[in-house]
């Protein structure tokens, strides 16, 4: 997105651009609660709240880290590798123009990306990780993994200079999160029931609702990456409109070929994979190119999910297959299908084979850095806090053991410990009746 900053009249605030980016920032922020629904529906009922809280907590924890230091490390001028500390605590981030929108709004927009990227990792960790360890981990991860990678590609760092195309974050967000998910899943080890019994989604309608809201938010993610209300945003919007449609149809087709039935969980997964795959390409390919990317992206991710379930890798909600494989497919196909007529750069199909190699470079470097440093960070966290809950807690479910709540409490046989104030006599009468049974 950085290369688009120079378009139009630089350093002059534009009212339509500000209006669109205010909306786009809200849309991307909504993706994190949407992810909570998507992930929450995929786990067992006894872990529904814990799983959803992993996404919700990222809104707070990563958001604050972003204000303290993350934004500065990602987007202030530093060197090719990492930004400096001049924007720490948001010093110097004011209402002056960055491109055509206020710098402060640009910072908030980028913050929503950091939040969703950290939350994406949680899909590999669910149903077994201590909540405190998770919160410490994502705080460190946002500062030491997300911020440098964002700097490399978008903040004026070396991958951006090397010509890697990543419109809205196929590499920075999805491949980055997936490599981290792989590292943490390996360190944590599988759930105790993994491979012994089926671990089934407890609420498939939540999964569909989450996928739908992710799609809605993704218009802010991709079309917002144009950083203005312009024709580039319109192209990214339409590509984000079509690519998941193609993936959805391809995924249902694969489902029908394999088992004879199109599944709802498959449809939701297909939509997300399509969104992931079009993310790096959104502003660089034609709408027909987007449909091709969407349809092609279904195949590797579909088979990666089937294969992963047969391995000892308990990447519980398939972050690697959906976001890693999907993001890599999208990033590589960007290098193939990019069109100068639409987005200013040609890909391999138009004769610019070098672009494909640049895309490959970006993928490999980001995956290697993220995987390795995440491994170090999670080991550091494990010194401070044990990473896993005990066996009993895992069997009981983390909602009760980590949060002291249940997602689907029936309220029978409950006794008030701290009665509500006497101004609500009905409530306390009710509690007396409850306790007498």
């Amino acid at each position: 997105m950085s290369e688009l900053l120079g378009q139009g009249a630089p350093n002059a605030l534009s009212t339509p651009d500000i209006a669109w980016m205010l909306v786009a920032t809200s849309l991307v922020l909504l993706m994190t609660p949407a992810l909570a629904l998507f992930y929450g529906g995929l786990v067992r009922a006894k872990n529904a709240l814990n799983t959803m809280m992993m996404s919700i907590a990222a809104l707070g924890v990563v958001g604050l880290v972003w204000a303290l230091i993350g934004y500065s490390l990602a987007f202030s001028e530093g060197n090719h590798w990492i930004g400096g500390a001049q924007y720490a605590l948001l010093r110097g981030v004011g209402l002056d123009a960055k491109g055509s929108i206020p710098h402060l709004l640009y910072m908030a927009y980028q913050g929503t990306f950091a939040i969703i990227t950290a939350a994406l990792i949680s899909g590999a960790l669910v149903e077994r990780m201590r909540f405190g360890a998770y919160m410490l981990f994502i705080a460190l991860w946002a500062a030491f993994v997300y911020a440098p990678v964002a700097h490399w590609v978008w903040g004026g760092g070396w991958l951006g200079h090397a010509g890697v195309l990543d419109y809205a974050g196929g590499t920075v967000v999805h491949v980055n999160a997936a490599a981290a998910a792989l590292a943490v899943a390996l360190v944590l080890g599988p759930r105790r029931d993994y491979g012994r019994q089926a671990l089934l989604p407890h609420n498939v309608p939540y999964v569909l609702l989450g996928a739908a809201l992710l799609w809605f938010g993704w218009f802010g993610f991709n079309a917002g990456s144009a950083l203005g209300a312009n024709s580039g945003a319109a192209l990214a919007f339409v590509n984000t409109f079509f690519a998941p449609m193609a993936t959805l149809v391809a995924w249902m087709g694969l489902d029908i070929l394999r088992t004879g039935k199109a599944t709802a969980v498959g449809a939701a997964t297909g939509i997300v994979v399509g969104l992931v795959a079009i993310t790096p390409a959104a502003g660089f390919v034609s709408p027909i190119g987007a449909i091709a990317i969407g349809a092609l992206a279904a195949i590797p991710s579909y088979f990666a999910i089937l294969y992963r379930a047969r391995t000892a890798l308990d990447d519980a909600l398939d972050v690697v297959a959906a976001h890693g494989v999907g993001g890599a497919t999208g990033a590589l196909l960007t290098g193939v299908l990019a069109s100068a007529a639409w987005g200013g750069t040609d890909g391999a199909l138009a004769g610019n084979v070098a672009q494909l190699w640049r895309q490959m470079l970006g993928l490999v470097v980001v995956a290697a850095y993220s995987g390795a440093l995440t491994f170090v960070l999670i080991k550091v966290v494990s010194v401070a806090i044990p990473l896993r809950t005990v066996k009993r807690a895992e069997a009981t479910g983390l909602d009760i053991t980590e949060h002291g709540e249940e997602a689907y409490s029936r309220g029978e046989g409950t006794v008030l410990v701290l009665p509500t104030p006497a101004t609500e006599p009905a409530a306390s009468l009710h509690s007396v009746l409850e306790s007498s049974t």
Partner: protein
């Protein structure tokens, strides 16, 4: 014939199920129930409301077995459902007057003996 009714912790239910299958117990009924067995109540908090969960989730197994199957069935449940803390549950062994298999009309011992797969 006996009817074995076992009330166990939900977190142990899968292990009980595995142990029963290993002991070749094929026919059983499982239901989620709520009950109280003297264990300490966990505390949950919803906004300002803190509550003690006096009734706990439990899982009830009901298994009709022929007499020589009682011992291995009870043994399997005892071994798999025990954590050593209050609230592990109970096993009741009840006499049974009559058992019918609805599909065939088989009575008593025949009705609680799994059919030989080859015969089906």
């Amino acid at each position: 014939m006996k009817l074995i009714v076992a009330i166990v912790r939900p977190e142990c239910a899968n292990e009980v199920l595995e142990a029963l299958f290993r002991a070749e117990v094929r026919g059983l009924t499982v239901s989620r129930v709520q009950g109280h067995g003297g264990e300490t109540e966990p505390v949950e908090t919803y906004r300002g409301t803190t509550v003690k969960m006096e009734l706990r989730e439990k899982v009830r197994f009901e298994i009709g077995v022929s007499d020589h199957f009682v011992e291995p069935t009870v043994r399997a449940i005892l071994d798999s459902a025990r954590t050593g803390e209050v609230g592990d549950g109970k096993i009741f062994v009840l006499p049974v007057e009559r058992v019918y298999r609805i599909r065939t009309g088989d009575i008593d011992e025949m009705a609680v003996t799994p059919p030989i797969p080859a015969a089906e």
